[in-house]
Symmetry: C2
């Protein structure tokens, strides 16, 4: 049996009991490399499971899946991934490959940012499509996210914006010379994300992401107890915060839609940079009926 096991969002204790038992029973356990970088160290997981883990980078999971699946028809093999196996990063390729090889698979679900974003107090029902925001460069500023956010906004829906992660990137020079030297991982922060959104608004000018009139909620380390941060405000409010206001990566951002309910306003108010402005924009710009 081939198990793909979601680790949830924070640390080693977010695995489910079912997942933990599957890890204990497996002859080989792979850890998708994202995971160890984002949450806890591999060594800490190994102590928790009392078992060695094999690091698998994205490339290995995507192109060398037969190595991972080797003998999974006669033994139990597990692949651990951050969040849920069908969350922001899906693992359909390796499951399709397992199927083609006649290997039975089982998915062990967990929380992912796609549902834990509800911690901001915004109803999951009211989210439209999710978008991704990549690091801009001088010459490459893809802005299709703007159209997607506009589609959601036109329907009054919230948008979850997933922020870019760069892991195992090579510099142009190292790439050209074929040197397998990798840059340190980079995670997009909320202030950078907001600057990029506002930059595109200033070009497109369709009023989707006006800095003073658009409400947003930033989240980091959701589910992580002490480390969780949720910060709400206008885009301008969030851009004006110090970098450390948002805590450790990963960061995510929600653009609030106009179908906003007064209970959502009330719940997220606790996280507001400026409560009065939060309520003012919700009431007077979003048209939400508040007390």
């Amino acid at each position: 049996m081939f198990f793909i096991i979601g680790l949830g969002l924070c640390d080693e204790k977010d695995i489910t009991v079912r997942g933990f038992q599957a890890v204990k029973g497996a002859t080989r356990v792979y850890l998708e490399a994202y995971t160890s970088i984002l949450m806890v160290q591999k060594e800490r997981l190994e102590v928790f499971y009392d078992k060695p883990l094999i690091l698998a980078d994205r490339d290995m999971v995507e192109t060398q899946s037969d190595t991972i699946l080797n003998k999974a028809d006669v033994e139990d093999v597990a692949l651990l991934v951050v969040g849920d196996p069908f969350g922001a990063t899906t693992h359909t390729d390796i499951i399709l490959r397992a199927r083609a090889l006649g290997i039975p698979t089982r998915v062990i679900h967990n929380a992912s940012i796609m549902n834990a974003v509800g911690a901001a107090g915004l109803q999951l029902y009211q989210f439209g499509q999710t978008v991704s925001l990549v690091f801009f460069t001088e010459t490459w500023k893809p802005d299709s996210f703007y159209d997607r956010i506009k589609e959601n906004a036109d329907l009054g829906l919230h948008t979850l914006v997933l922020l870019d992660i760069k892991v195992k990137e090579q510099s142009d020079e190292n790439l050209a010379r074929g040197r397998k030297i990798y840059e340190p991982p980079r995670y997009m922060s909320v202030p950078l994300a907001v600057r990029q959104l506002v930059e595109i608004e200033s070009i497109r000018k369709e009023g989707v992401l006006g800095p003073e009139k658009t409400l947003a909620v930033a989240l980091s380390r959701v589910g992580g107890g002490e480390e969780q941060r949720i910060v709400a405000g206008t885009l301008a409010d969030l851009a004006a915060q110090p970098e450390d206001a948002f805590g450790e990566p990963l960061h995510s951002l929600v653009i609030v839609g106009k179908r906003l309910h007064h209970l959502e306003v009330e719940y997220a108010e606790t996280f507001a940079v400026d409560r009065e402005r939060w309520r003012d924009i919700a009431g007077n710009v979003y048209g939400c009926a508040l007390d």
Copy 2:
């Protein structure tokens, strides 16, 4: 501390290790009544935790939350809920109440149908807003879901349709006489849901839910190992299936949007009632480029 702990989607082993430890450390543990009905018996959970549970129905959670929160400022109290605390049913009310009382709260996340629906092989990115479908009666057939599905469909997005649950309903007679006698719980099945969708299509005639030309995926007991069922086909295909094709409740349904990717078609094909028709509609009606 007041803990709200997601139990995930299937049985007692889907709780996270963090959640399990919080249950063990709590002086009182409430179980939201939905949970025991939908997944496992209360007794089975009590054996697993080696601890008594107090049943809390929806009414108690919503209107008598002070009972649950009693002394949670000085003791640890836990409320167990099916799925994730911010999933399809949110628990913002009780958290707001805890805040008002100055009680610290912690949410322990888990999988919910809002993210585990990814098990159908459809990308979570490509879902629009979620809708709910209630049991129709002779005189009450609310159809606002149709407009929401149309909004999603116009953007090419998938729609998750959550099917109605009736728990602790009273008959008109018992209600009139003030007798606290409750009807057995009812869960909407996929075939009934499809009949209701098609009934509204036959009235509205906007082509959003044409039975022969709309692809859908039905899911039940997602994450439940042996009990999980995923069935894909046109709405007509699903309507023609025997009731037991879909397994035990809860059932959910996804209406597939036109932005469908060939990998999604390929993945869900395994679950298709009729693979050839599945591919035919995906290619020729949805315009998906297949091999």
